[in-house]
Each structure stands twice: as C-alpha cells, then as structure tokens.
Symmetry: D2
Subunit: 326 residues, 4 copies
Amino acid sequence: MNKPFTQFYQQIASNRLSEWLNTLPAQLSHWQQHELHGDYKLWQKSLDALPKPHCDTPVEIDLKKGVFVGKQEDLNQGEFKRLENLMKKFKPWRKGPYHIHGLHIDTEWRSDFKWDRLVDHISDLSNRYVLDIGCGSGYHLWRMRGAGAKFVVGIDPTQLFFMQFNAVQHFIQDEKVNLLPLGVEQLPELKAFDTVFAMGVLYHRRSPIDFLYQLKTQLAPGGELVLETLIVDGDENTVLVPGERYAKMRNVWFLPSAQAMCAWLERCGFINVRVVNTDITAFEEQRKTQWIDTESLQDFLDPNDNSKTIEGYPAPKRAIFIANVK
Amino acid sequence: MNKPFTQFYQQIASNRLSEWLNTLPAQLSHWQQHELHGDYKLWQKSLDALPKPHCDTPVEIDLKKGVFVGKQEDLNQGEFKRLENLMKKFKPWRKGPYHIHGLHIDTEWRSDFKWDRLVDHISDLSNRYVLDIGCGSGYHLWRMRGAGAKFVVGIDPTQLFFMQFNAVQHFIQDEKVNLLPLGVEQLPELKAFDTVFAMGVLYHRRSPIDFLYQLKTQLAPGGELVLETLIVDGDENTVLVPGERYAKMRNVWFLPSAQAMCAWLERCGFINVRVVNTDITAFEEQRKTQWIDTESLQDFLDPNDNSKTIEGYPAPKRAIFIANVK
Amino acid sequence: MNKPFTQFYQQIASNRLSEWLNTLPAQLSHWQQHELHGDYKLWQKSLDALPKPHCDTPVEIDLKKGVFVGKQEDLNQGEFKRLENLMKKFKPWRKGPYHIHGLHIDTEWRSDFKWDRLVDHISDLSNRYVLDIGCGSGYHLWRMRGAGAKFVVGIDPTQLFFMQFNAVQHFIQDEKVNLLPLGVEQLPELKAFDTVFAMGVLYHRRSPIDFLYQLKTQLAPGGELVLETLIVDGDENTVLVPGERYAKMRNVWFLPSAQAMCAWLERCGFINVRVVNTDITAFEEQRKTQWIDTESLQDFLDPNDNSKTIEGYPAPKRAIFIANVK
Amino acid sequence: MNKPFTQFYQQIASNRLSEWLNTLPAQLSHWQQHELHGDYKLWQKSLDALPKPHCDTPVEIDLKKGVFVGKQEDLNQGEFKRLENLMKKFKPWRKGPYHIHGLHIDTEWRSDFKWDRLVDHISDLSNRYVLDIGCGSGYHLWRMRGAGAKFVVGIDPTQLFFMQFNAVQHFIQDEKVNLLPLGVEQLPELKAFDTVFAMGVLYHRRSPIDFLYQLKTQLAPGGELVLETLIVDGDENTVLVPGERYAKMRNVWFLPSAQAMCAWLERCGFINVRVVNTDITAFEEQRKTQWIDTESLQDFLDPNDNSKTIEGYPAPKRAIFIANVK
C-alpha cells in the first residue's frame, strides 16, 4: 500500500467521507500496480531528492494571498539550485504560480486571477469539506485551504499534476489538503462535500449532463457548486460543438452560452443558479513562460484577429456559475 | 434458457454475429431471472392463447407495402374475436399499423409514413444485416425484411413492445426477424451490421455524443446509419435542451438543429452526412385511436397554437439523417 | 459505514495490515447491507441497553487469569439484573467463561482449559499481531491480549458470536481487540500475522488442505501456527471421514490421526511441525449450563460407552499442533 | 470467435446443454485471447498441414474395437510420411493408441485396457449425453461415441491434449464428439449428463470432496458416475497423503482405500456406490514408446521392488467406482 494514501485513509476512516473506503483503496491499489506512467519512477526520484529547509523557526506559509512558502534564505545556494532544477523536471507547469523558498514557478496560467474572480461570490469556505474536480497541479486546493476549508480533496487523473502537487506538498506538509489521481467517474456518490469546484472541465466531457449529475452526487444537502467553463455568446438555445479541434485542443465538446448553461443546471435539479462572472481570457492570464515548453494562448488564436481561435471559432470566453443542491 | 432465444443463438453461432455469444446469453438469462415485468406472465398467457389459423394453402404475407398477414377468412368468428381481445391486452399499441387476418391494429403512429419518407433515400437493404435501435413493437423490422434484408435485429428494453412483437411474430414466423429486450448500452461493439437504424431515440439520451459512438461501433466498415430525431430550426450552434417536460414527455434532452446534428455526426467520425427529410408531425401521423388509452399529439400541443407544444416549445419537427462509417 | 468498523479501519490504515483496506470495507459494507441476521436489530437493541458502570476509579480488568471485568458493586441491583437479563438474550453462550461485574457467564465450554493446555507451548505473544480464525465469541482473543499481544483480530461468520463479543467489548473497551464477521475464505493473503490460531475449525472444512494454505498465507515470514482439531488414533495413513453426522454434528469432514495431520502440515510447506497436546474432551470441559438451551457432550456420546459417539465413532479427542512458516 | 467452437455453440443452443451458453462463449473467448500456450500457433500450423485422404469411398472408421481410421492405402507415401512427422510434433502422446491411415500412434498408455475393464460394468451409453472430465487427448471420447453415446464432451485444460484431439478429429470429423480446453471448476452446474467419467483425476485434486460435488452437479437426475482413481490397501479409515512426490508426480494429494472412497461418495450423496474393478498397473499398460520422450512407469518404481514407488509408497493401484445420483 502506498504510504502517501495511508494517511488519507486514516483521516477519512473517522470523518464524513468514511464510506469512500468501500472503493478507494482498491482503486488506488490497482492504479499503483497497473496504471503508473512510464516516467513515474523517475519523477518519484526527483521528488525524493527535493531539499528540506533547516530553519530554527517554522517556515512561514501564506495561502491567503497566493501560495507562498518560506524565504530564499531558508536554503543555501546549492539547495536552491537543486530545488530549481528538480522542479523543472515536472514541466510543463500549467496552473500556479507558486513561490517556494524564493523560487518563483511562473506557470502558464495565472490561476490566481481566476481565484480572484470567484472568491467574493462563493460561500465562506470556513470549516467546509471541499472537492475540486480536475484540479490540475492543485493550485486552488491551497487557496481553498487558505480560505479556511477544513478538508480539501482534489482529483485529477494526470499523473504529472499529481507529482507537481506532491512537490508542493513536500514543502507545505498539510494533511488536510490531498490530491488523488482519479477521474470523476471513479467517485462513488459521496453526497458529503459542502462545496464542489469544477473549473475548466465541462467542455472536455462528451456528456455534460452526466457530468452535472456526477457533481451533484458529491454535494451534501444544501451544498454549493462552483462551475467554470468555456461559453459562447448567444441565447438559451446556443451551443457550440466545435470540429476536431478548438484552440488546437482535440477534446472539446460542448460550449453552451451562459444562458444555456444555466438551463442545463436547472434541468439537472440545481437551484439558485447564477452566473457570477464572465471573462475573455487575456494574454496576461495564459502565456508561455520558461516553465512550459509548449505553445500557449497566443498560438491558439488567429494572429490577425484575436477574437477568433486559429480554427475560426470565438476566442475562449469563460464564465463562473454558482448553484446549490436542495 | 428461454426457448425464444435458443433459435437466435443457433443462428448467430454461424453468422457474422457469433461474437455476440460472448455476452448475450448471460444478459438475457439475467433478464429472464431478475428483470421480468410484473405483468409478464399474464402477457405470456395471452400470447400463448392466440389463435392459429388452419388453412390448406400457406397464409399470404406482404411486408412490402405494409404488414399484412392473411385474410379474415383464415379464422372462424370465435377465433377472430379472441384475436381481437387478446391483442387489446397489449395496449397501448404505439407503432404500426398491423393487418392480421383481417384485424386492423390502428396504432397511435402511422409508422408507415416515416418508412415512406426514408425508403427512397437509404441503400437497398437486399442481403444486408440490419439493426434497429429502439425499435418499439418492431413495425419497421418487418418492413426492413420486406425490403430484402437478410437478417434483422431490433432492440428495445420495453417489455410490452417485446410482447407486441412476439404477438405479430406468432403469425409471421420468420426466424430472420428478431427483437431482443435490450438497451443500446448492453451491446458489445459488434461492427457487423450493414445498416443501423436509430429513429426517435437520440432526444431521449442524456448523452447524444456517446449514443452516436455506440451506433458507430455496431456498423461494419462502410455501413450506413439512418438516424431520425427531433430537431429545431436554427443554425449549426442551435440546440434546445427543454425543461422538465417537452410535449409532456419527461425524458427529452437534446434537440439540435439539422445543421448541428450534421456537425455532431461529423465530429464523431461519420462521413457522407446528409439530411434527407424534415417533417412536422401531423395529426394524421400521430393520433389517439382505440388501440391506445392515453393521450396523443393533439393533447401535447398548445390548443391555441399548434406550432407550439403545450409548454411553449416549437412543436415536434423531425429530420432523417443518413451517414456512413469508413 | 458502520461505526464499529471505522475505528478498525483507522488502525489498520497505519499498521502492517493496511493492505486489507483494499477489500475489507467493501466486504463489511456488503455484509451490513445484505447479510444481516433476521434478529440482528433485536440483538443490537439489547446491546445498546447494557448498563454502564459509573465508578470513581477505573474498572479493574484481568485478562491474564481469565476474563474478569470489575466487581458486582460497580452496578446497582437493577443494573445487575438488567445485565443478566440482556446477556441471556445472546444464548447459547458456547465459549467462555466470562466474569463481568460479578455476573458469571458459565458457558458450555471451559475454553480456559484449552488455553491452559496450549499456553506454555506457544511463542510468547508479547508485541505480536495475532489472528484467531473461527474465534466464536472471542474468549481466546481476550486471553491473547492478556498475554501481551499488540493487535488481536478474530474472525467468525456467526453473527450471534459477533454480538456476544460486542457485549463483552462494551465492558472492556480495548480497541486492540477486534472481531470481524468474516469467513477465512474472505481474507486476502495478508502475510502479516505473527501467530495464527485455528482451533476447532479444520474438521468443519470440506477441504482441509485448502484450509492449511489459507492459514499459511496469513502468516508473516517465520510466523507460528497454532492448530487444534479433532483427531483419531492411528498411523500416518489413518483418516476418518464420518457419515452424515459425527457427535450429532452434520458438518464434520476429515478427522486425521495426529501423525497424518503432521504429514499434511509438512506437505503444505509448514516446518517445525509438532503435536504439543492431545486430550479426550471431558464432561467438565463441555457440558450443559443455564447459558445454553441445547444439548451438550453428554448427549452426543453413547450412554453405554462414553468412548464412543452416539453414532459409534471414537469419542472426541483433540490435539494441538504448532508449526512455522519459513 | 474461434471457428472450432462455433459448431459446438450451434449444437448446444438447441440441445439440453443450452444453459451452458450463459458462460461458455465468454470463457473460451477469454481463453483464446489471453491464455494460449506459447507454442499454440506452431501447433496450429502442424494441424493445418495434416494430409486429407482422397478416397472414392468413404473412409472406414471403427470406434467400437479401438480408434481405427482408414487404411494406409488412403494416403500416398509422401502424405503418410507427412502425417507421421506432423503427429510427432504433438509428443508426448500419453493416452491412446490411435490407428490412423496405417499410422500406429503407440501411446505411453494402453487406455484401451482401462476401457475394457470398465465397459461391461457401466450403463449402456446408447443415446446418452456423456461428459469425460480430465479426458487427456480424448481417447475414451471416441470409445464412448463408438459405444453409442449421442453427444460426447470431454474437458481438459492441457492445450497439447486439445491439439492431439483436434489432430484425430481432423480424420474422423464427428461433430458429436467435442473436447473443450477447460478445467472442471469452470463448468456451471449443468445437471444434464447421463454419464460422467472422471478417470485419473481425483488424486490430483487438493479437495477430493469438492471434486465429488462438482461431478455430482454435472449429472442429470438418475445419472451415472464412473470414477477411476489411485487407491491404497486398507480399511474405511485408510487414506494416504504422500509427501512432495508420488511416483515422481508432484501434484498427488489423496489416495484413499477403496472402502474409504466408497464412504466419501456416499457422504456426498451418491447412491448405489460400488467398486467394479481394481488393478495394479502393469508395465504392459504404461510404458515408454517412441511417442513419448519422457520417463514412464518403469522409472517411477523402486528398481529393486516393483511393489513400491521410487519414494517407497505402494506402487500405483487403481480402482473403478460406479455410483448414481438420485
């Protein structure tokens, strides 16, 4: 049994997620035995080689204004260099940024911008059980914890993101923040989270309606959904299903209008459905940095008309929806 | 093991559907043991009591112009009365009509109208393996066979429709025409049918995209899909997802425009996609008869404006799409 | 999720049994939902109604010389009466005896006799993980804990025994002693216990060889098996398979000689195999008391010849075997 | 789907074994995809290269006095040579002998001797459904068919034996004789065979009692079991469980006396249990020939005392038991 998960099992055995023990250990055990990425062992080596700061006073951690861990002085020069080199093994870093003992991981996305757009609209996370579906490297998990959440779980099946999360967790060491390498379809109907986030996922699902039901079955009675997804302009009956690619992505399916998205949420039984923010993604928010080696937003748009993707669809526009279950 | 299916197993054991034996007998055996409708035994009794005509010459059957079996003279008066009484036990009769030894089963739907709208557009069914998904009582199965199909399989999970089919099969006795009480999600990827029909089903699916992939995996290379579904007016980005009810039906999900439907088909890898017919359902095609005790189209539309459903949505408009797989 | 098991899951999540989480919660969850005995709720009610002693000083518990809990003075008269009445709801009490706040549960078996016969021959249980397969009400679990075991698990599928154990645990409250309502065939190959006990079970198994392999796969390398079973006189090739009943029991299969049993153990790969005790069951050890309403040994033997069962087989003779795995 | 099994599925779809379709195709499909022996393709090539005799008159086949197929003159010299060479690819040939177009496959065992010992004691096989568990290359399957059986099924998980059977079937072409590459534990409870043979298998089973129950659940009411196994001298309580090896075989478990075997059969609910033959295996019956490259009986016995195996156990003695189910 993987040691990392042991602590998680211990915690859920005695909290309101205990029912999860019926399926989770078997799934993760199967994952460890049969599904590890070809580079997993290499990544694990890098992880194990990360430096440990040795300070007399506890390392300062600020998760309220961002993800800030310690100062550069906590490490000597050799350690800092090792930190930088090892963190670069986990490229591409998509979601962030992270500030770790003076190392600025300047990720492709300024995920803090998204956080700022939503944080004033959601229910206070204090003491809440929170689930983030499709959490990537887990940037928002830290911000949720910083906002007072009692127990934070993120899921994302991409193993590189799991490693990035573990690298950050190495420096923060907070057992109340966890990332599990799972897809949403592997979750039992827990009906146990006070807030469920699903940001940047819905348009990747072949079946958005089934996805909404999956989100619903994770929420405790009265719980709150925070859903962010790509939208298009239009009325309640406007939905774009792009061709093979949208902004060079292959797996994009349904881009509803904000109104259509609201109608879908209501159709699935959510209440208090509202749009709290819409935003056209700017180059400041998604751009190429030294922490990714791939293309970024600039390359995905029509060079002559930034209001269009390279395929001629409307450029990425995102909206944040909030809703409740009864 | 249910006798009705035995003959089917024998046939597929030696035709191109033999791979189906890996899953089908276990499914149908489970169905028989655990999933039979509460009225199943009663229905079976009615079925077993159907009269057998005793003619010197073989009964005349015409499946080309409709479903016509024999003449009233093939039965004596008592037998005819019994036939009528027993057939009424299987109400509501939705799809038809059937003409059996002089009994006219005047079903809610004139499914022959739909057949007439599509028959000139589809590939000649001669010698083809044909699958009809969501076939109801199986009216079109007979027409497909009448059009020359070599082997016809319909699937529909509604057990009353299975009984109606068996009642008709009682008089026709054609082992090349079969209805199995299954949903599409229970089919393995057979890749074996020359033509797959899916009429009046897509708008009942929560995930139309997954449904299109399911259809695709039933088709042999080069095979043809015939898809009929409710559409709305609009451009490629128009999709109606109605509220809780549409024309009093609870389980209606996606009503794309014809253009949107074509885009979806192409996105799923179908080629030669085209609309061959669109049609606003008329009262002549769907109406209350003595063979149903429930409401019909007239009750589903706004009495003051027949261009709208009672909920205010556009009244039912249907389109037929044809496409191929590579 | 059943609260009783939650604590167990928490414990094994962080000890050497953590692999068990892959299967155990799913099994016990199924058990709770689908396999509960018809009287389970009634029993649970009796359990919940057991008195709680309210002493200033902690209740004295002695598990070294027997199972002794507190004194009669810890309860008032009404409470004592309630204790007695409720404990009798769990009749028949087969294995014991228990002394609980002055109540002497005088069980059919003097299981302490068996303990005394084996205790000097087994390895010191201090700090060991111990498994008792077919543990009945769990009498020996307490004695194992009293002998220093670090973590004690008993399994027995009989739900009444599970209730009896819970009734005793109500007064002792030791989270290191647990009984799970499972059969041996439900255990994964844990290879984690230092000592495995299997007393009075082998002759109930249709396949003693498979049973020996199951025991072996629970033992950590170098671990010790303590096996007790019915034997017959004879040489290495002597094995009695009785007819439909043996001593009125229906499910008795293989009664080997001591020598044959040793040969079987060696054949299955055990080493250091030895017999440490043989004993003809005396009326003092198994007899009718007021805590059972059924027959006992006296009724199972030939009234005219106590060396024979009522069916004419040799009267019950038991041997204790000790062996190791590599 | 493997063509060889297709015909079998067709047959059982319409006979009393139709229930088998619930599990068999899925098992054999899994077998073909995941369990084929490393040499399977090579063997199949040899099989495909076997000569086809081209006679004007049908080939003469005698399955009554042995397994005799055609005459040497049916093949030309080159074909005969090819036949011999290809058949030797399937060495070792254990059970036989076979006479195929003049080729005498002189197998290690004279299985005809065993047949002669039992044939006068069993019920007439005419028109019976017969199952042979652990049938090896299938020699006795042919003799059962020769004795009038209506439908003969053999099972044996060893794939080389399956190939040997197919090689013989190539020349006989009798669809009523089939060998399936299965172990007994893979059979559903068919309760459909009139006679079940289990010869030379019981002593290889860890659990002879479970094996007897498995045999029982294959028999139709009133059906007959023909069981042959190794026995030892002794009374009802004599059972030899040898050490690691018996006659150099590793997987030998229980050798009961004839009386003990009868008691076990009765204990499992068989009636009319009787021993019809006992026989010490002679060198004439099991010996090295040019059709095996391994050792044979002579090498398994103590060279100084043929009444003992090389390990000092009693030399192989076999008994045939016949019993019925109610």
